[in-house]
Assembly symmetry: C2
Homo-oligomer: 348 residues x 2
């Protein structure tokens, strides 16, 4: 469509027989400006439907007042909630937010991070894709001194600000809860080993077993493939059953996997939680809808978003490089899927 001639600061300056600077100042309502001229400018701006050109502003100020966000997937309730938290605080502080998804693809992540860099965001908040095992595209940010904050999924080899959940503790608590409920043969459906969170959760799982004198059984550590989706859980669960492995409880690396596991168990007429108890991680809304309701670890997603912005702003406003690491804890929300009806006396 043909370009429409936008009215600029110059147009209104000419019409008023003043200079560009005066108009600029009037618009920003600078103190030292005549009340009369200010009014005249504002009126004309309204009349001509003037809208400031942010591009020009950014170029001259060398700041876009924009923060970039890269998440693996928008369709996860967890991530979209984090984003809401980010937007809330960012807007309050006068920043715009550009959201991008990597679609869990390393390649796409590299592309969007470069685009964002070229778009001169004032800072970047990211949770890496599950494929990512190279951080060169983020190192460029560091070289150029553009503030960086990771949340949830971080690059292990980068020393930057981050806000993460205590995955280890969360996993530990979940498994201990299962043990307290009388479960002894507890399987863990693990996430992709690429992700630090997967590793931490495995560690928590193992240590909880250890503490309660339950030997770790390799067959009960189940790989769900590269995905974190419901389907992966279903398939892995069926494979486990087919292999004749029959735990009395399952701790899943995330809710979608847990849901997949549950549907498979139900299909196999296995009673939850009596025969097999299940605990997930994330607390997606779906957890309350499935039957029985799924016990899960609640992550304070909105808060994570806000803190990410806070750490980013701290860097933006700091004269020197800054690295802060926040660790939040996930709260175990116990629902029916892990509540054995039989109460066991177990030594603790």
């Amino acid at each position: 469509m043909k370009k429409y001639k936008e009215t600029t600061i110059l147009d209104i300056a000419r019409e008023l027989n003043v200079s560009k600077s005066t108009v600029s100042r009037a618009l920003k309502n600078h103190h030292s400006i005549g009340a009369a001229t200010k009014k005249a400018v504002l009126d004309l701006a309204k009349k001509y439907n003037y809208h400031p050109n942010n591009i020009a502003y950014s170029l001259s100020k060398k700041s876009t007042k924009t923060i970039g966000v890269i998440v693996p997937l928008l369709s996860h309730y967890y991530f979209s909630t984090v984003i809401s938290g980010i937007e809330e605080l960012a807007y309050k502080e006068g920043y715009k937010v550009i959201i991008c998804q990597s679609a869990e693809s390393y390649e796409r992540e590299v592309i969007v991070s470069q685009t964002l860099l070229s778009s001169k965001v004032d800072g970047l908040i990211v949770s890496i894709s599950r494929e990512t095992n190279n951080s060169d595209h983020f190192k460029v940010y560091q070289q150029k001194n553009v503030p960086l904050v990771f949340f949830d999924r971080v690059c292990p080899d980068l020393d930057v600000s981050s806000v993460v959940i205590d995955d280890y503790q969360g996993a530990f608590n979940a498994v201990e809860h299962l043990i307290m409920g009388g479960k002894r043969k507890i399987a863990h459906f693990a996430g992709p080993p690429m992700l630090k969170i997967s590793l931490e959760r495995i560690k928590g799982y193992k240590d909880a077993l250890l503490k309660h004198g339950i030997p770790f059984d390799e067959n009960l550590l189940i790989d769900c493939g590269s995905g974190l989706e419901q389907e992966n859980g279903s398939i892995a669960a069926q494979a486990m059953l087919d292999a004749g492995i029959r735990p009395d409880a399952i701790f899943a690396v995330c809710d979608p996997i847990a849901i997949g596991v549950m549907t498979t168990l139900k299909k196999n007429k296995i009673k939850i939680p009596d025969e097999i108890g299940v605990v997930g991680f994330c607390d997606e809304p779906i957890a309350t809808v499935i039957e029985p309701p799924l016990s899960s670890l609640v992550q304070p997603a909105f808060k994570i978003g806000e803190i990410s912005v806070e750490l980013l702003l701290n860097q933006i406003n700091s004269p020197i490089p800054l690295v802060e690491k926040k660790v939040l804890s996930a709260e175990l929300k116990i629902r029916e899927s892990s509540l054995s009806s039989v109460l066991n006396d177990n030594r603790i």
Copy 2:
């Protein structure tokens, strides 16, 4: 953090003793440029970690190669899927995408639409908030000739390109399906009357009843309040039951409402679908997880995103204003929640 001196086109021009234009051209690999100089430029660019400044590019080209998107909420699977469709095609066509959420707030919608306008997006794709009943903030786009496409939720008073679902037909089919299953006393849990989609779905509901000789009963048209969330469905369903109204089927304006209805029915020990059948609209993934699985109308969300971009691009590339309206149909996906075990012979 202190600003880092970016290397610009000028820096590398000086070092090579050539002009800015030459460097610019080399970078864009313009045809008429010496192979030697081109290589020299590219090498130096790499060495200095040069990244083009998109802001400057946009200012001089008067085009940002960016399209803006405004959705009510990112946390709805439907919207995040539409966005994936948008991004897919947009990237393929060399466009960036800026995503914003209105958070279902009219006020927020106005703000982000202005920000996007100031950020000089080349076009805007939007699905309005449920509060929005004024379209002045979009009229500005029209005045300034910046292409606009609405999807799903459109402004009734604006003549612009749009891609929508045939809500009327979808609703009609859902209700007819219920009737074919022997249901006669069918309630509709309706959406906010502000939204055209609510109205269309009500119309489809009524006409299906009409066609099958079932009189419309006002008491069975149930208002869910201003929300479209699970909770609203639960509350409205309980209120209905408390009022002694007992339909034999329910068609809900969207899946979250349907889910809320189902949980309330189950709490009241009402059998689904035998006592009350349920059909939703949207097909959120949650529909397959609840018990019994929820029948629903599947919207081709990804496709809607792609088509939105297509219509937008058509406008961007058209010398004259263009208005295209696409209507897609929603497919009824029948699951257990609406399958009465008793087969009735009904006159059709």
